[in-house]
C-alpha cells in the first residue's frame, strides 16, 4: 500500500509514543497556566461515597486504609486527600493504616497536606493517628476482626496504641463507623470485602477508591458489599467536585465552622484540592488519541484485507 496508508502501516511505534506524550503534556501545560479545570458530573457511585461520610454522626471514628504506593499515587492520592478532607470537615476522627510497605509514607503526605496545613487544631492521637504499615496482607485483616490493637501495637511514630484516646472505644474493626479504603491492587478493596466486610455481617460499611484496572472488578460488589466506589481518576475528580461544591455552599459554612474548619467561608478552593480535576485534562487528550489510534489501525487493517483479497482474486 502506498501513500498515507503505507506510512501508517510501517509507522514506528515511537511516533505513537511521542503522540501520547504530547496528548498528555499539552493539556497539562494549558491547564497549569490557565488554572482552569473541566466540569464534573458525579455518578451514583461517587455520590454514595460522599453520602457515606456525610451521613455519619459528627465525631464518628473512621478507619482509612491507604493500600497504595508511589506507583499508583497519580490516581489514588487525590482520593485519599479528599477522604481525609471530608472527614476533617465533618469533624470525624481518622485512624490511618496501610497494608502496603510504602503506604505509611503516603499517609504522612496526606496528613501533612490536609490535616496539618488546614486543620492545625486537630491533635495527633486524639483526632487522627497514623498507625503505619503492618506486614501480612489478609492475615492482618483476620487479626483486626477480633483485636485491632494487636495487629497495630504502635503508631508509626512509636506510641503504644493501647494508650491512645482515639482508639479508646475500638476493640475490633467492626467498632469503626466506616471503612474508607484506597486500593492499588493486592491486598486491597477485594480482600477487605472478602475478609472483613463479609465477616462483619454487613455491620461495617465500606467505601472504596481504586485504580482504573481494579474498577471493573469491584463493580459486582457495589452497592451490596461496597457502599460507594470511586473508580480511577474520574471517580477522584467527581468526589473532589462534590466536596468542593459542598464547601462553597453557604449553607455548609456554619456546619464546618463547628468542626473547626474555616474553609466553608472560602471564596475559592485551594488548588491542591483540584488535583484530580486537573488530571482529567490530559485524560481527555489521551483518550481522544486512543480512539483515533484504534480507528487508524483498523483503517490500515481493512485496507490490507482489501488489497489481499484483490491479490488473491
Amino acid at each position: 500500500m502506498e501513500g498515507v496508508l503505507g506510512i501508517l502501516e510501517r509507522l514506528d511505534r515511537r511516533w505513537v509514543f511521542l503522540a501520547m506524550a504530547l496528548a498528555v503534556a499539552g493539556p497539562i501545560l494549558v491547564m497549569g497556566i490557565t488554572r482552569k479545570t473541566l466540569p464534573e458530573t458525579p455518578t451514583d457511585a461517587s455520590r454514595a461515597v460522599f453520602q457515606a461520610v456525610q451521613s455519619l454522626p459528627r465525631g464518628s471514628t473512621v478507619l482509612l486504609s491507604f493500600d497504595f504506593d508511589p506507583g499508583s499515587a497519580g490516581e489514588l492520592e487525590p482520593m485519599g486527600v479528599s477522604m481525609a478532607r471530608q472527614c476533617a470537615l465533618r469533624g470525624h476522627k481518622m485512624v490511618f493504616i496501610s497494608l502496603w510497605p510504602l503506604g505509611g509514607q503516603m499517609i504522612d503526605q496526606t496528613i501533612k497536606k490536609v490535616l496539618r496545613a488546614d486543620f492545625p487544631q486537630l491533635q495527633d492521637g486524639v483526632d487522627y493517628v497514623n498507625l503505619g504499615f503492618q506486614a501480612g496482607n489478609e492475615q492482618v485483616m483476620r487479626v483486626v476482626l477480633t483485636d485491632f490493637k494487636r495487629a497495630f501495637p504502635t503508631t508509626k511514630s512509636g506510641r503504644a496504641t493501647a494508650d491512645l484516646p482515639i482508639l479508646s472505644g475500638i476493640q475490633r474493626v467492626g467498632d469503626f463507623a466506616l471503612l474508607a479504603e484506597v486500593s492499588a491492587g493486592y491486598p486491597g478493596s477485594k480482600e477487605w470485602v472478602q475478609y472483613v466486610v463479609s465477616a462483619s455481617g454487613g455491620k461495617l460499611p465500606m467505601v472504596s477508591g481504586c485504580t482504573g484496572v481494579q474498577t471493573p472488578q469491584l463493580y459486582p460488589y457495589f452497592p451490596g458489599q461496597i457502599r460507594g466506589l470511586l473508580g480511577a481518576i474520574k471517580g477522584a475528580a467527581e468526589y473532589e467536585s462534590l466536596i468542593n461544591t459542598w464547601v462553597l455552599d453557604p449553607a455548609s459554612a456554619a456546619e464546618m465552622a463547628s468542626a473547626g474548619a474555616d474553609s466553608g467561608v472560602a471564596a475559592a478552593i485551594p488548588p491542591k484540592y483540584l488535583e484530580a480535576q486537573r488530571r482529567m485534562g490530559p485524560q481527555l487528550g489521551a483518550h481522544l488519541l486512543m480512539v483515533v489510534l484504534i480507528l487508524l489501525g483498523n483503517v490500515v487493517y481493512l485496507a490490507q484485507r482489501r488489497s489481499q483479497r484483490r491479490a488473491a482474486a
Partner: protein, 234 residues
C-alpha cells in the same frame, strides 16, 4: 519425614483458619496464627533481600555480562540498608526525646526520607507511567475489528473512553431528556453497572469455586505442588 511434617503443618494450620470463625473458643487461636503469619511475612522481606544479595554477588563474582549493574544494585542496597537501619539523619522523637532510637526512620530531613522522595518514588512512578505509552502502541497495532466479538469489545471501549471524559459530555450532552440514556456518560455507567457487573460477577463466582477446590486439595494433602521438586499430587 520432612515432607510428612510439612503436610501435617499445612493441614493443621489450614484447619485452624477454617474452623476459628465458627467456634468462639478458637477465635484467639486463629488470631494468634494470623499474628505469627504476619511476623513471618515481615521476615520474608529479609529473605527477599538476602536472595537479591546472593544472586547479585554471584553475578559480580563470575563477571557475568552486565556485572557492573549488579554492583550498582548491591551498592544501592547496602547504602539504603545502612541508612534505614541506622536511622541516619533521623531527629529525636519529640514524644520520646530521651530514647536513643525512638525517632521515625523516615522523618523529614532523614537520609531514608530523601531516598524515598528522590529515588524510590520517581523511578517507581515512572516505571508504571511507561505503561501508558505501551497501551497506546498496542491499541494502534493490535486492536483489530476482525469479528463480531472484537467489534463489540472495541465499541464498548470507545463508549467508555469517551464517556468517562469531557468528550462524552461535549459530544452527546445535547441529547434530549427522553434520550438521556444514550448520552455517552450515562451509557458508559449503564455498561459498568449491568454488563460489566454480570461478566465480572460470573468470573468472581468461578474463581471462588476454583479457589475453594484448590485450597481443599492443599489442606487434604492431595495437591503438594507447593512443596517444590518431588511434590506433585498424592
Amino acid at each position: 519425614m520432612m515432607r510428612i511434617v510439612a503436610l501435617a503443618i499445612a493441614s493443621v494450620a489450614g484447619l485452624v483458619m477454617l474452623l476459628s470463625p465458627f467456634f468462639p473458643a478458637m477465635e484467639s487461636v486463629g488470631a494468634q496464627s494470623s499474628e505469627i503469619f504476619n511476623v513471618i511475612a515481615a521476615i520474608a522481606f529479609i529473605l527477599g533481600a538476602g536472595s537479591l544479595v546472593k544472586v547479585n554477588l554471584s553475578r559480580v563474582g563470575r563477571r557475568d555480562t552486565g556485572w557492573g549493574y549488579a554492583l550498582v544494585t548491591l551498592l544501592c542496597f547496602a547504602i539504603t540498608l545502612v541508612v534505614g537501619l541506622g536511622k541516619i539523619g533521623v531527629p529525636p522523637n519529640p514524644q520520646f526525646a530521651a530514647t536513643p532510637w525512638a525517632g521515625e526512620k523516615d522523618a523529614a530531613g532523614s537520609a531514608f526520607a530523601w531516598i524515598y522522595e528522590f529515588i524510590l518514588t520517581p523511578i517507581t512512578s515512572t516505571m508504571f507511567a511507561l505503561l501508558a505509552f505501551y497501551v497506546a502502541s498496542a491499541a494502534f497495532r493490535a486492536f483489530r475489528a476482525k469479528n463480531r466479538e472484537a467489534i463489540l469489545l472495541l465499541g464498548t471501549a470507545f463508549i467508555v473512553l469517551l464517556g468517562r471524559t469531557f468528550a462524552g459530555v461535549w459530544l452527546t450532552g445535547g441529547f434530549p431528556e427522553w434520550a438521556s440514556g444514550l448520552r455517552l456518560e450515562n451509557l458508559s455507567m449503564f455498561i459498568m453497572q449491568v454488563f460489566n457487573t454480570a461478566g465480572n460477577r460470573a468470573i468472581i463466582i468461578g474463581i471462588a469455586l476454583g479457589v475453594t477446590a484448590t485450597s481443599l486439595r492443599i489442606l487434604l494433602g492431595i495437591d503438594r505442588s507447593w512443596m517444590g521438586a518431588g511434590g506433585g499430587s498424592a
